[in-house]
């Protein structure tokens, strides 16, 4: 027995030695960030994960950042292109990026227009499998380097949302590192740089990624802007929300993201953690199915939809479930200039809601508490994903709507099923719901959004559409199309106010809560300006107080 125990002990020791890497301690002031999901890749063209694009702000620089006031801040370019500075031509189809003279990769090589063109080529090359080719395949006809410091982007039509996309999320890649790999292997899908970007352009330099555990970054001494104040960043992957909160409270980490509303108060009361609410255009809401083929007949009546919204106490959800941290939004473009200034949510008024249902012909004729019309019971399918708070909302909504004679049948699915496509027989994509609840952003910070276009309604012949509500209003389609072409900010805002008004009048969406991202940051750090579009855009300026 002693021998066996000794053998096990030796095995444990061997494993301990086995998992010890060559890594040394990180010295100086280190920022420790806990993220609940691990990055899938560090190459920006291969991911649409929020966690990957957020970490990217550390080791790569986009053409411009979007700051915490949602304004573009030039990084690789000398100024943001505009008609006034000649960066945008008169018809809005050609945008010229003038690059700074002093921009360099972390290995000292200059960043040039060739890197921009190379990135464009890699996104479109059929040998590579990027997560998305938008907008480069659909909207752009060419990207060319007219000289070492000038990139000329030609669009097929004026494209107003370019600021949200163009070399902003698809950050320029180091051609001098990746081109030899592309030439020898025919693809950069499996390039080592994708997981070990030893050459970057951000304020920090990637050092190590131990999968499942952590990622380490050190200050980039060749950074072309002011050098980062902190010495390094340690990103740890902590999948459980409750552990993130415990780590923050115990002082084991400095930053946590997507903090549950229920924990925000305890963190703030600890005195050592600040909570920051960051707008990223998300609004939790109810999307109503108005497709005559798949929806309950009652859903086709705008007054019934209005009654559903007025019979559901959204303010109570915000107070009781979200502890008053959130509120009921009046617009899909809440907290942005694109929301109508007078936008306000429909009030909670169950009596008025019941009256609307009566007037629409839905009455409880058999006395079972549920209304009927022409022999059809007012029984609606409410579908959502399995996020706990959504399940809680379902139960509350079921009780409240029952009081006005509407029965809710509750369904919930894991997100990979809830969001499954039309081809994969996804429950929402196929319209097997009357009300679905989730949170969906615009092309933030741009307001563009394609869910409500007639052309996006999926069919067997055209299964790619994302408009699973079956909503079709040609006027809305025309306004969205016009707004996409309108590069003048004020004119575009006016167009969105019109869209917002129609969407509100048609009651095809009802906001449940304005859904900012909750960041928790240890109070010893200062200058922590977090943006919803580029969360760590000013990470170089983060410092320790005092």
């Amino acid at each position: 027995m002693l021998k066996r125990n000794l053998s096990i002990f030796v095995l444990i020791l061997a494993l301990l030695v086995g998992v010890l890497g060559p890594v040394a301690a990180q010295e100086g002031e280190i920022l420790r960030i806990d993220l609940t999901q691990e990055m899938d890749t560090l190459n920006p063209i291969y991911t649409n994960m929020w966690f990957s694009t957020t970490v990217m702000d550390l080791y790569l620089s986009p053409a411009w950042f979007i700051d915490d006031d949602l304004n573009p801040v030039p990084v690789l370019v000398t100024e943001i292109p505009s008609v006034e500075n000649g960066g945008i031509n008169e018809d809005g189809t050609v945008i010229t990026l003038n690059l700074r003279d002093d921009i360099v990769w972390s290995d000292g090589e200059p960043i040039t227009s060739a890197d921009f063109v190379f990135t464009y080529d890699m996104i479109l090359d059929p040998a590579n499998t990027p997560s998305s080719r938008f907008p480069y395949d659909e909207r752009i006809t060419s990207i060319e380097a007219s000289d070492e410091r000038t990139v000329v982007v030609t669009f097929n039509d004026p494209y107003a949302p370019w600021l949200s996309y163009l070399f902003q999320t698809s950050v320029p890649l180091p051609m001098h590192v990746l081109q030899p790999i592309f030439e020898s292997e025919g693809t950069i899908d499996f390039a080592e740089w994708n997981r070990a970007p030893s050459v970057g352009s951000g304020p920090f330099r990637w050092v190590e990624w131990q999968e499942g555990s952590h990622m380490r970054f050190e200050r980039n001494e060749n950074y072309f802007n002011d050098l980062a104040v902190l010495d390094g960043v340690f990103v740890r992957f902590v999948p459980d929300d409750a552990t993130v909160v415990a780590s923050l409270l115990a002082g084991d980490s400095d930053v946590g993201t997507f903090i549950p509303y229920s924990d925000a108060q305890a963190l703030e009361e600890s005195g050592s953690v600040n909570i920051e609410l960051v707008n990223s255009s998300y609004n939790e809401g109810w999307f109503f199915n108005v497709d005559p083929e798949t929806a309950h007949p009652a859903m086709l009546d705008v007054n019934v939809r209005k009654a559903i919204v007025m019979g559901f106490n959204r303010d109570q959800i915000n107070q009781d479930l979200n502890l008053g941290i959130t509120y009921t939004p009046g617009s899909y473009w809440e907290q942005s200039p694109y929301a109508r200034p007078d936008a306000a949510p429909l009030p909670y008024d169950p009596e008025a809601a019941a009256q609307l249902l009566e007037e629409a012909g839905w009455v409880d004729s058999d006395g079972d508490g549920i209304r009927e019309k022409d022999g059809v019971r007012l029984e609606l399918r409410h579908v959502t994903s399995q996020r706990q708070i959504r399940l809680d909302v379902q139960v509350v909504a079921q009780q409240q709507l029952a009081e006005i004679g509407i029965s809710l049948l509750l369904e919930s699915y894991p997100s990979e099923i809830f969001f499954a496509s039309y081809i994969d027989d996804g429950p929402t994509a196929r319209g097997r719901y009357d009300i679905q609840e989730f949170s969906s952003p615009t092309a933030f910070p741009d307001p563009s959004f394609s869910r409500w276009l007639c052309t996006q309604i999926a069919t067997d012949e055209s299964p790619d559409g994302v408009n699973d509500q079956g909503y079709c209003n040609q006027e809305v389609d025309a306004l969205f199309a016009e707004s996409d072409r309108t590069t003048d900010f004020d004119a575009r805002v006016a167009l969105y106010h019109q869209i917002d008004q129609i969407i509100t009048d048609d009651v095809i969406w009802a906001g449940v809560w304005y859904d900012p991202d909750l960041w928790a940051v240890n109070a010893r750090f200062e200058n922590t300006r977090i943006s919803g579009a580029d969360p760590l855009w000013n990470i170089a300026n983060w410092s320790v107080a005092g």
Binding site: L20, G212, S213, R236, V238, A242, A420
Partner: protein
């Protein structure tokens, strides 16, 4: 004996094939791996379709399984979506040692799994060491001092711990020994990970970070195992041959550890034999809560993205381990109990 071992191994081949087919079909029914690609919004339909073709998800499930098993380097695939297959497949298939490429990380699936094994084994072997040692100590003590005050206390504690869900134990430990002890200015344990970045991954750091996860994994099993040891020891120490040994004047400790314990351990060996394959699977809940980068976490993370290649590699590894460890358990029986023979 050799024939027996060869027969058991041959029987395992159809078992593994059937199991892999069943798991493959079940995983395919779990949802759409391209639904969100881990993002906060679903990808553009055009991109979804393009990636579906590249990943081979446009093929019927039996064809996908066939490619997973024997590869697709003997067929052309339609990469550009024009309806005409034009690109030679590159997968060699599991039978030729290729478990495929992870759709999340674009790395070889088996390599991802192997990279995580040391972390999981470190946690699980340490936990098993603690479990067996503690269970034997508690079980033997309780049997020898039956109905003593400590035996009654240990019995009560065993029932309480055995009834506790592991997540409750884990969070309880974390709250008490990491958050509150720090707040009270006492010695406290880390909440997550394998080391403090400001210190680095030293032996001491690893051991320190192991304390809470190992405790969380162990307490429920110690409670169960110690009850088995206690009841078996009670049965054995009251048997005739132990009485004979005592009558012959043998040393009490020698009787207990050399004669009684060996026979009392037989059911424990069965339990441990069943446990061993799951060493490889890791402790899903504990690894998630304490952010321990092991196989359990790997499985959960890749299940969330429906990364079939990695999930299949993990599940097949565990299936193979079950077969091998069951065989080893049967062989250990013959050593513990010479009356058992396999012919």
């Amino acid at each position: 004996m050799t024939k027996y071992i060869i027969r058991r191994l041959l029987q395992a081949i159809p078992l593994l094939l059937i199991t892999s087919a069943v798991i493959f079909v079940l995983l395919q029914s779990a949802g759409d791996p391209l639904a969100t690609l881990g993002g906060r919004v679903p990808p553009r339909p055009e991109d979804r379709e393009r990636l579906r073709r590249v990943m081979g998800l446009d093929q019927p499930i039996p064809v996908q399984y066939l490619y997973w098993l024997i590869g697709n380097d003997w067929v052309l695939i339609d990469r550009d979506g024009d309806g005409e297959p034009e690109t030679p497949g590159t997968r060699k298939g599991v039978l030729r040692g290729d478990f495929g490429i992870s759709s999340v990380t674009r790395q070889p699936a088996m390599q991802i799994v192997i990279d995580r094994l040391p972390n999981t084994l470190l946690l699980m072997v340490t936990a098993e060491f603690v479990i067996i040692t503690s269970a034997l100590f508690i079980g033997i003590y309780s049997a020898v001092r039956q109905y003593s005050l400590l035996d009654n206390v240990l019995t009560s504690l065993s029932f309480i711990m055995f009834s506790m869900p592991i997540f409750l134990v884990a969070f309880g430990l974390m709250y008490l020994f990491a958050v509150k002890t720090r707040e009270w200015g006492l010695l406290y344990f880390p909440t997550a990970g394998m080391f403090d970045p400001r210190v680095g991954p030293t032996l001491g750091q690893l051991a320190w970070h192991l304390v809470l996860p190992v405790t969380a994994v162990s307490v429920v099993s110690i409670a169960a195992y110690s009850r088995y040891v206690r009841s078996n020891m009670l049965e054995v120490i009251n048997s005739d041959y132990i009485r004979t040994a005592k009558a012959k004047g043998l040393n009490e400790r020698r009787i207990l550890f050399r004669h009684a314990l060996k026979n009392a351990c037989l059911p424990l060996v069965t339990l441990v034999g069943l446990d061993l394959p799951f060493f490889l699977a890791g402790a899903v809940v504990t690894e998630k809560i304490f952010a321990w980068p092991g196989m359990g976490r790997l499985f959960i993370d890749h299940l969330a993205r429906l990364d079939y290649s990695v999930l299949m590699a993990i599940l097949l590894l565990i299936t193979a381990a079950v077969v091998v460890f069951q065989l080893l358990t049967d062989l250990v029986y013959t050593w513990l109990d010479p009356r058992i023979r396999y012919n």
